[in-house]
Structure formats: C-alpha cells, structure tokens
C-alpha cells in the first residue's frame, strides 16, 4: 500500500465526516464555510486597498498648429501649450492657447475678445461666486448638476499673462497674472497678444472626473464688421498681410 492510498483513505474519511447528518458534522460544515467566506472577503478588501493607478492622460500639443484669428463669434477648442500635474498627481493644470488678440477697429478703438461660454465634454459650465470655479454643469436640455462643483477652475486671459478677464456673464473673476497661477511659470511666460485660458482639473474618480476632457470656448470679438475685419487682416504685421496703413488707405 503506497502513501497515495493512505491519503485517499484520509480524504474519504474527511468527506464522510463532513457529509454526515449529525450535529458535529453540520457544525464542521458551517465552520469551513465561514472560514472560506472570511478568506474571500479578506482578499476583496486587499484588492480595494491597492493604490489608485489613475488614468493615463496623453497630452498631445501640436508644434505646427497655426494660432487662429477670431472675428465675430466662434466656438474654438484651442491647443494645449503647457501642462503640469501637481498635488500628488491629483491636479492637472493646462494652458489652452485659443487665438490671436486682434488690433484696433477703424475708429481706433481696441477690439476686445470676450469669453461667452465654456464647455467641458460638451457640458456647459457655470461658475460660482469667485467667477472661475465651476459650480454647475448644464446639458443640451438645460438640466444641471453640481457633480463637478469646485473640481474645475477656468481662468481666461485676453492679450497676455497680465491681462486676466471675467467671463461675460460673471460680475467677478480672476485678477491674478497667469504666471502667478500656472505652476512653474515666471514673469517671462508672457503669452504676448494671445487669448488663452489656464484650466485646473481635480482628479476625482468617484465623480467620474478622471481625464482632462475636451474643452470648447465660445468667443466673441467686438471686431465683426467687414470693413474693420478687412482693415485688420490687411494691415496686421503679425498674422495679416502687413500692408502699410498708408498704402491701404490709398
């Protein structure tokens, strides 16, 4: 008789004991079941205690993206030109370059580009009392939710890092320079004559905010009349034809 036969005999005895109908047999079955359940829950808790691996976010700025010129009203997504992750990977700071700042109208007044609306993953954002922290998101049917309240901040700038502006429908807003908001920036990050936004997104997997999403802005330029537009585009030396004003007037 080999040791295999001995082990087989023991197994049969144990099975016979567990499958018996006596109280002792029943208690033994309950104990084993309890032990198995305990092990299963313990393993599940261990899985829950694993550190959050986060979401892999691909930042893909484009070195060949030509910065557009906006006249009148337009929806624009812009391009990411800087990104910084902070606060133990839970905060993403983005710089979104939107368009060129345009010149003066024919009547010599400076054109102004305003930020009318902001969308995040096709939800329109509205802002809280400070004018730049999101309080509600709105869908196309005008339903709202505060699920992302204080999780996203949007700081608009019109013309450079030292030109913070308010959103059109807000009476307050950011007044800080962009380089005082964006981590790692200094006063040499001037963003001259650019319309752009600094965006802060907090990671929150319970609120399904785990990605940088897609942002879209509705911008309105006070330069919208054909004569003003033609004048600006023909004479601007940065993004236009650069014809001297003297020749253009002739």
């Amino acid at each position: 008789m080999s040791f295999i036969d001995t082990l087989g005999g023991l197994a049969k005895s144990a099975y016979g004991f567990l499958s018996g109908k006596g109280i002792a047999n029943s208690l033994a079955r309950t104990a084993i079941l309890g032990y198995a359940l305990n092990r299963t829950i313990s393993n599940a808790n261990k899985a829950n205690e694993q550190p959050d691996p986060g979401t892999e976010v691909l930042i893909d700025p484009d070195t060949e993206y030509k910065i557009p010129v906006v006249y009148g009203s337009a929806y624009i997504t812009g391009k990411i030109t800087d990104a910084v992750m902070a606060d133990n990977n839970t905060t993403m700071w983005l710089c979104l370059t939107l368009c060129e700042k345009t010149g003066k109208l024919i009547d010599d007044t400076q054109s102004v580009i305003s930020f009318d609306e902001v969308y995040f993953n096709n939800f329109r954002l509205s802002f809280g009392s400070n004018g730049y922290s999101v309080d509600y998101i709105w869908d196309d049917s005008n339903n709202n939710s505060d699920v992302w309240a204080n999780q996203i901040e949007v700081y608009p700038f019109n013309g450079g890092s030292t030109s913070p502006v308010y959103f059109t429908n807000e009476t307050t807003g950011n007044t800080q320079n962009a380089y005082d908001i964006m981590p790692g920036w200094t006063s040499n990050h001037t963003m001259d004559n650019l319309v752009f936004c600094i965006v802060r997104i907090n990671y929150n997997k319970f609120k399904k905010l785990t990605n940088i999403g897609e942002m879209k802005f509705k911008l309105t330029n006070t330069m919208s009349q054909p004569g003003d537009v033609l004048w600006d585009y023909m004479t601007n030396t940065r993004y236009g034809a650069g014809i001297s004003q003297e020749i253009y007037k002739q």
Partner: protein, 198 residues
C-alpha cells in the same frame, strides 16, 4: 476718379515713386533713405509735397492690364540715357525689395492743367534690376538703360505666409523673451498618470 466726360481728348502721364531704404552714391558711402520720384511728364510736377522729375521719353513703363479686381501683373520700368557715372548709384544702393508706387495723372491737352487728382496705377516692389549698356560708336558716347522689374503687391501677398504657430521658435520670432511655448515640443506625446497614487 477723374471725370473725363467733358473732354474729347486728354493727356496722361505716369508718376513713379521708389522708396529706397538704403541708398548711397559711392561704394564706401553710408546708406541713407532716399525717395526717387520721376515721371514721363514734360515738366516737374508736385504730388503730396514731392517733385517728380520729368524724364519724358527717357522713361518707359510697360503697359498693365486694367481689371476691376486687383491683379498680380508685373511691370518693367526702363530709364534710358543714364550717364555712366550715375549707374554706380543703382549698383551700390539696395534697390531690390524697395516699394514702388506708380500714379497716373490726367491733363487737359489745351491748357495742361490737371484733371482731378492722381490715381494709383501700380503698387508693388522691385524684384530685380538690370543695366544695359548702349554704345554709340560714331559719337564715341555711351549711355545706359536701367530696367527695374517690379512685382505687384498682390503677387507678393499671394506668396506671403504670416501668423504664429504653437512652438517656441514661432512665438520667439515675435516675442524673443517669451518662454510660454518652450515646453510644447517636450510635452508632445507625454503621458501623465492623472490621479495615480504613489
């Protein structure tokens, strides 16, 4: 636009203005801005405070097609009878690229008075120039013909590329001290583990 309804015949003249930013008369002289103004009219004529030297028959300007919309035609301007000593001025100055404007004026044939004001005929820049030697063997005298080839501003604009791109070179071409776009090339394709606990 001059109203010519009341005239059975008129006389026209072309007035040329070349703005040379770096002009000098000798090879060692210093550059200075110079505005050259001349016309095929028979007397000196003043436009906007500048006297246009009458070259008469010495000046030849190739015809251009008149169109309602701006066209990209090029023209040639020939100035003949230039003394050899004066050729140096063209050679030593930086003529190429200089903006050129040609105006047309209408004049009453009988009185010689101008009808209306001068009108723009051609706006462009000098693409190239050439100098032709004209030798009269019997008279033992030589003169030169200077020919300017001019490209229309429309043609120049059609080839012009402007604007900024989202990269540091493009941004710093306009604003050399701005570092805002410096991280764009290194960020391209970068993956962040957003929310990853360490």
């Amino acid at each position: 636009m001059a109203n010519l309804d009341a005239y059975t015949s008129v006389r026209t003249a072309l007035f040329v203005r070349i703005d040379v930013n770096e002009y000098r008369t000798t090879s060692s002289g210093s550059f200075a801005p110079q505005i050259l103004t001349f016309s095929d009219y028979d007397t000196t004529f003043n436009i906007n405070g500048y006297d246009y030297t009458p070259l008469g028959e010495f000046l030849t300007i190739t015809p251009t097609t008149s169109e309602l919309r701006p066209s990209s035609n090029s023209i040639s301007i020939s100035i003949s009878g230039v003394p050899t000593d004066n050729v140096a001025e063209v050679l030593y100055s930086k003529i190429k690229g200089s903006p050129i404007k040609i105006y047309r004026g209408y004049f009453d044939v009988s009185t010689g008075t101008q009808i209306g004001s001068t009108e723009g005929r051609f706006f462009g820049s000098i693409n190239n120039f050439s100098i032709l030697d004209e030798l009269d063997v019997t008279a033992r005298f030589s003169t030169n013909i200077i020919e300017f080839e001019c490209a229309s501003s429309v043609d120049t604009l059609a080839q012009k590329l402007t604007g900024r791109k989202t990269n540091p070179q493009s941004q710093q071409r306009f604003y050399p001290n701005d570092l805002s776009m410096n991280r764009v090339p290194t960020l391209k394709g970068t993956k962040f583990k957003f929310g990853a606990q360490e």
